[in-house]
Subunit: 338 residues, 2 copies
């Protein structure tokens, strides 16, 4: 608590968040004395949420005991000496990268699901952000699929940026970032500080060189069809009902003229065949198998109903995008079934 | 499938449910042939829910393979020979007990939470139903608290009823019983059949003699106060915030004049004191400790905001009821804290 308002800092080993509540008559009836105290976050949240009076008194006694009271309630919390709290540096850069909050929230939701859930290759649990001039490229991959989003920044960066941020930390940032406006990204060697409105959010960066995925995405495709995203999603959903192994969820796709067939076969349970009309742009044929779970997760990130599926054969990656738009690319590796 | 409609039977070791869909042009476009097939319940539910066409064709081939298809989807399910399905007797009584569905749903929600979660004394995992003449008494207890509900039936029963039905089975009945109307209860030696609309729901009965709890509830009380149920609930909720042992959740209640204080003390975390106005009907004093979790669950079953708390001392049961109304009684045993 300072004269200008209340500073709240929370931190675990990965993330530090600092917020500020400005000294304003509508929020603070009176500030009697400045001071600092450390209390357990989960209790203070529950207390404030469950108190039913509009104003609440907070007072620190003997530098440690924290009294929180209203007319009828009194909480007496054991505090911790602020001297024992780690000194976390939340410095800012002179020239942060600036991006619209909504755009950055979209980046997170369109890529984060594709990060690896396994800690074997720690770098793959992160989202890689590369910035060159004013082009920002964000990639997540678990080595079976890849999600890529490209956005243009208003301002060029001076130095090339290439950092990988833990995916779960960015999901946490997404959860606390509600307001509209600009997000400042202050990049350091081993950490990134996000700044928006009255909040600072700092996370560590993953060490190491993110794999080069630029050659994974082909430039030409032999197979190219356009389909309704929502219909294709339902077809995949139904084709997966009888699959026992929900982790793999392998379905077969057959492209033939303007018809596609998605099928699955689980000998003990039964089989499914789903048919759907598409627009086969190159009138080509193909039989390919892939994870319906990955395909459905990839389909979810798009907003328009028409999508394009691009392929080169049964062992080459499948590309999903909105028609002619390479700003959001989803890639799925096929699964060999023979 | 019969000419008059579709009969569906599902069963585990505990519960059997049989439903009927009448042959009606709006439901069945055509019934080509009668027959019986056994298929895995979870798949058929998912298939029917996820198909997007209004009508669906179902056909059994070779007595086992079950085809479910629409214009674009085809499911080929492996069925099981109906001869291998256990022969479950769903006979009815001549004179079932009849009760309003909503009344019985209330009985379940006002008692089931108090059954024992431990299998050490299996009988206590059930809800005991006793009927004498036209008085039906339903009790659940885990030996630390008790929930009791009394309802009057329209018709007298000929023979005394005293059965104990597994609490979780009654919760399952509650989940499938949506309609309004009458519920028929057909009671047998080792099972009960519930019948409502076009549904039969049969459950086993727990063996043994349910403990006699009639002497647990005192007739006279030295302490008697009236309080707002919702305010008392919030007070208990806040008084429990700092308690570490969420299983026990022990709070202390002090009654003094028209004030009560609910407090808790967790030396490592801190302490809470909550004050509230009540109407002390006997102007008595008391200090008593109990589980705030049990008290909050008991408070939830009432509908009116004014409730009465009745006590006889710090080692005697606490009774909670709506004012002067003994049809719903909640009892909580105090906890000795010294």
């Amino acid at each position: 608590m300072k004269e200008d308002g209340l500073y709240l800092t929370g931190s675990d080993s990965d993330i530090t968040i600092k917020t500020f509540l400005k000294n304003d008559k509508e929020i603070f009836e009176s500030i009697e004395k400045e001071g600092t105290i450390v209390i357990q976050g989960k209790y203070i949240l529950d207390i404030i949420r469950k108190l039913d009076s509009e104003f609440v008194n907070i007072e620190v006694i003997d530098g440690l005991k924290t009294l929180i009271w209203t007319e009828t309630s009194e909480f007496n919390l054991n505090g911790i000496d602020p001297k024992e709290y780690p000194n976390i540096d939340l410095e800012e850069n002179k020239s942060p990268v600036v991006i619209d909050i909504d755009v950055f929230k979209n980046i997170i939701s369109q890529t984060s699901f594709a990060v690896s859930k396994e800690e074997v290759r720690p770098l793959l649990t992160g989202i890689n952000i590369k910035i060159e001039n004013n082009k920002m490229e964000c990639i997540a991959t678990d080595s079976y699929r890849l999600a890529k989003k490209i956005v243009e920044l208003d301002k060029k960066v001076e130095n090339l940026v290439n950092i990988t941020i833990p995916g779960k930390n960015l999901l946490e940032l997404d959860r606390v970032m509600h307001e509209e406006g600009n997000l400042e990204i202050h990049i350091f060697n081993n950490k990134v500080l996000f700044k928006f409105n009255d909040m600072l959010f700092q996370t560590r960066i993953l060490n190491g060189t993110y794999p080069d995925t630029s050659k994974l995405i082909p430039e030409d495709f032999a197979i190219d069809f356009t389909a309704s995203r929502t219909k294709f999603y339902s077809v995949l959903d139904r084709a997966s009902i009888l699959i026992n192994d929900k982790d793999k969820n392998i379905v077969k796709l057959e492209v033939k003229g303007n018809d596609i067939t998605v099928s699955s076969n689980s000998p003990e349970i039964g089989k499914v065949e789903e048919n759907m009309d598409v627009q086969n742009n190159k009138d080509s044929k193909l039989n390919i198998s892939f994870s319906s779970k990955y395909m459905m997760e990839a389909l979810k990130v798009f907003t328009s109903d028409e999508i394009e599926l691009l392929m080169n054969g049964e062992v080459n990656p499948i590309i999903i995008r909105e028609i002619g738009n390479d700003n959001v690319i989803q890639l799925i590796l096929p699964i060999k079934t023979y």
